[in-house]
Symmetry: D2
Subunit: 366 residues, 4 copies
Amino acid sequence: MNCNSIGKALVLTCFGESHGACIGAVVDGCPAGLPLSEIDIQVELNKRRPGLSEITSPRREEDKVEIISGVYRGYTTGAPICMIVWNRDIDSTPYESIMIKPRPGHADYAARIKYGGFNDPRGGGRFSGRMTVAYVMAGAIAKKLLSLIGVEVLAHTVQIGSVGVGDEVSYDDIKRNVYTNPVRCAVPELANKMIEEILSAARDGDSVGGVIEGIALNVPAGLGEPIFDSLDADIAKMLFNIPAVKGVEFGAGFRVASMRGSEANDQYAIRDGRVITLTNNAGGIIGGLSNGMPIKVRVAFKPTPSISRKQKTVNLETMSEEEIQVAGRHDPCIVPRAVPVVEACLAFVIADHALRAGKIPRVIKT
Amino acid sequence: MNCNSIGKALVLTCFGESHGACIGAVVDGCPAGLPLSEIDIQVELNKRRPGLSEITSPRREEDKVEIISGVYRGYTTGAPICMIVWNRDIDSTPYESIMIKPRPGHADYAARIKYGGFNDPRGGGRFSGRMTVAYVMAGAIAKKLLSLIGVEVLAHTVQIGSVGVGDEVSYDDIKRNVYTNPVRCAVPELANKMIEEILSAARDGDSVGGVIEGIALNVPAGLGEPIFDSLDADIAKMLFNIPAVKGVEFGAGFRVASMRGSEANDQYAIRDGRVITLTNNAGGIIGGLSNGMPIKVRVAFKPTPSISRKQKTVNLETMSEEEIQVAGRHDPCIVPRAVPVVEACLAFVIADHALRAGKIPRVIKT
Amino acid sequence: MNCNSIGKALVLTCFGESHGACIGAVVDGCPAGLPLSEIDIQVELNKRRPGLSEITSPRREEDKVEIISGVYRGYTTGAPICMIVWNRDIDSTPYESIMIKPRPGHADYAARIKYGGFNDPRGGGRFSGRMTVAYVMAGAIAKKLLSLIGVEVLAHTVQIGSVGVGDEVSYDDIKRNVYTNPVRCAVPELANKMIEEILSAARDGDSVGGVIEGIALNVPAGLGEPIFDSLDADIAKMLFNIPAVKGVEFGAGFRVASMRGSEANDQYAIRDGRVITLTNNAGGIIGGLSNGMPIKVRVAFKPTPSISRKQKTVNLETMSEEEIQVAGRHDPCIVPRAVPVVEACLAFVIADHALRAGKIPRVIKT
Amino acid sequence: MNCNSIGKALVLTCFGESHGACIGAVVDGCPAGLPLSEIDIQVELNKRRPGLSEITSPRREEDKVEIISGVYRGYTTGAPICMIVWNRDIDSTPYESIMIKPRPGHADYAARIKYGGFNDPRGGGRFSGRMTVAYVMAGAIAKKLLSLIGVEVLAHTVQIGSVGVGDEVSYDDIKRNVYTNPVRCAVPELANKMIEEILSAARDGDSVGGVIEGIALNVPAGLGEPIFDSLDADIAKMLFNIPAVKGVEFGAGFRVASMRGSEANDQYAIRDGRVITLTNNAGGIIGGLSNGMPIKVRVAFKPTPSISRKQKTVNLETMSEEEIQVAGRHDPCIVPRAVPVVEACLAFVIADHALRAGKIPRVIKT
């Protein structure tokens, strides 16, 4: 059954494999008349490209996008937009054995059961973080659509291992600092500590996890749908589709469990003639609808499962216990490269709902 | 656009309002030949019924289900199953004013923007926790389907305010104890502390939040779909569609952020000829697929937003700041009544994926 | 899998059985603020009600609609609208045997294979023409939505057996005459011949087929979507979901096969400052899009399969050949009662596309 | 909104433009383990390739398919299969003016209204018959899936202009003869008359229409879903998505209108221990379900709208009436090249329903 498409008004279909010919994204439902070129997409892809620094995988992918449909003379046509990144720097030799000896923390075992051994194992195939290239390509279009109505989407690393950022970071700091350091942290002095946390894990042949916060500013109130297409539900679904995500929380998140209503409720006030709330424990979404305050979501990423340390696994042919050391080129921490992915996912879902709500016209006249 | 249906192989469509004529659920895609009667549904509904104890709302709804289609001579026919609970004990007087003075923590303001004031405000209309009656009805069918393949779904309260349950609760304790106390806690001695936590908040005219853990046992490996219908993504989406949910995490959840890979990875072993993992930090789902271990998900609920304490709000007609004290009948803690809802949501999504995967036949021969 | 919902912006979910408790329709996606009462629905239902004259079945269903959700104080709320017609005049005795001896021309045999014998056989269950009560209820809402943008939907009987209406009938004749005679023919003198055609078949214990033409006036140009949601494709799909339909054609339809391009092409001209076509062989749809001319579609209905004449069938238990005489109450010609159903289907699809195209606002201010 | 995907278990997403970079098809939901190579697709594409004879357009497209995802070591992996045909022989000069002066019989005018002039006009853009390359690619996969359960799909030309084939053609004649003549007619002597019909139109600077019959053999009984995913409704929808189709009928089709029930009903009998019907007026589908008899559907195609004869049109900028002579390279009759397209559409829908019904396993073991 169809599981490679998401969205209702703006629909992303993703194809391709980590070590196959390409990663592809088809975006359907984009209004006609949006100025769009490969540069718009490339800018976003460059944010997640591997090979950026000593803390990331040595795989050197240029990740150069080609738009092969849906754009004519610099404008979207209303037809589906297919974007492709061809895979180049592929070394699939280390993956021969994982069909038999599944790597802990990876989908190898479950995938083998599901696909009877026919799934492409190279680089994790469809289960690779590389799939998020497609999310970023779609997110780039979503961001352009959102910019038409003034919505801005940000993300930043708020935790790597034991190093965490407090709540006091300003939106300006985020905009200014995130892409100036390899860990995508809005607080430069913490960035260095995070880098050290990653290098320390790498030196141990290990990896480390973290948390990313996504933020959307200027979202109009009333986006989202009650019951089964809640804005938070749709955002959460999209984020959990990023490999390695284990938790998603909005606003005060899990802290609400120990709060009282009088503390958790965001009380209303009027500022400059607009309704606002005095706190934002809701993270900008209430009853599944945006309430006009910044949308805030935090996303927990597990440590990269591929580590060079010895781990226990099983041989699925002999059904005996064995050990494994995972070779291949891997980031010791996936979090920094996931920052633009969280941005993309958040932008995509909000753009989908903005289109559903008729906030963006079907033909854009600029 | 359609936002009141969810699922792909098993599809739930929900209709009705908190203080309207009824709450209704249409379940489409249920195989023919499943023995089903109103008692199967009623048993689950009874678990969430209001008016159960001093810690819940005094609204006295019988919540008696009627199956009005899809069942013939005690068996499902393959046609859509419509289940209805007629609303009886309705007192809508307190809700007159909320269209103008939105209640903090409720969807009133966002809904007014979205629907231009036409939404039914009585009891929160579509934004009421009462909508979860539909989830529970659908979940009851899902549970019956899952029982055919040995899958069992549980849920229990693991935190109310400052009172938390540790990780050591056994599945047997959960099965035995959850519905023996009004807070649905698997540890009887903690149940009393939780009750006190709730009563203390109630005495202060306040409310309190909490966390529920959902568990699914004996889920076959390989359920779920990579990329956009990940099992965890679908479960998270369904859970965030429960009003008041602010966070969802699987397995070690947000704790993965401070873990190293060697700690977070669930290493493989063989027990009784079956592949298992030695830990379950993944919560039974990896790469979006079930891995054969118990599925574990934790869900954070905010405190009931309706409290009798004075709060700041605004008058949307005069655009001035005012105060509000929310009348009406409300639970000081929504968590206990959400336990069967979490069960239902978890069961529904797993049943949907089991049907997608062909694990449950289209015609059931018993 | 879900097969009881249709539409993308306006979504109809249908439940119920011919001789079950009810026929139900849930319409999701209707904008808030539409004035709607049961009378609006009842007017349309009355057009298809059985028991209207000597040419229809003696089943006496009042077909009284109840709206049980989605309407508050006379206006739609934006929530799903559930409408129910309770079945009253049920006599299921004649249907005991059809699970074993399938009726020629009915779905009995195929349904038994599909559902393993669990489908509700009474009155044909889900395969009954009575399901179209749900289509008409949804169509009534669609018509109200379309009236907001001036679109008018008509249908009329253009053939019963050997009696056919020529092409020269005016829209005014259709509006004026269709519901003044029991065969829903726009030409009164032909109506009598059609009645005679039906009575003649009935006297022979037989039945007769016919053709209905559906027309939509004032449809704005540009509705529909190229490739897979063509306006004609969606209309055809909806119409083929009416039981007994065997053919659908737009404009010149099958006659285009023997035409040349110079004859079939509708050439453009300008009238009163508007672009029109000089002919309408396209039936108002070209490339899957409305072109601003009247939409015209013709729908072929087979004769009612239930006839009292002896027919050959098989006994599925003994796997031997037998004869059958179908008892029960049946119209000798289904066409007259299908006229409002064709109207409803056409209106529903056009309203869905008008909503998709943003031609009808999400909140209606009247 | 998403309009470029179709199917539920097997989902085709189509992208590309007539004179853009490529035509692409993503097929999602194909089981893992199906042997698949580019040759399987190419064989079907070759059947519809332009430039085949004097009766077709001189556009010389090689139409060479590349599979760029979803296949590993010769087998499908369960991941989405993306197939691309790069456009090569493009001459877009003749299309400059159609945005202003719409061609009669084409979507130019309606598309301009819908897309505000941003749609790609070259070769008709998304409204070109060239889009059916994607249908044929998807159909090739569908045929391979159907072959696993013995289903065979055929199509043949039954009418071109005034030359028609009677009902007596055998399936063997169709299999043997269709692709031996350029008009895809199963009766060789009529093929020549059809060719003459086309050449005669071409000589007049004109074009001609026709009818194609699609047939599916050995379809198991019980495929399809009642109400809104009837097998006939889904087939009709897919066929109406082929440009130029104006009518679709099953079995006796429009002839049922003048039949009596005793004549139209297909009576049951037993042959070789199997239930069959003595006639096949239903065309193999009843109540929306396959009944085990051959599925038969007839599809009416209008004459190619692009003709070199002078036609009336309008200038949309000056809003004045003008004349047009359509240049470019066009088939004088689209029917022959649509034969493999009808095959593909029929195969695709039946494969989708066979997967929905669980008739084809999710992992294919060969």
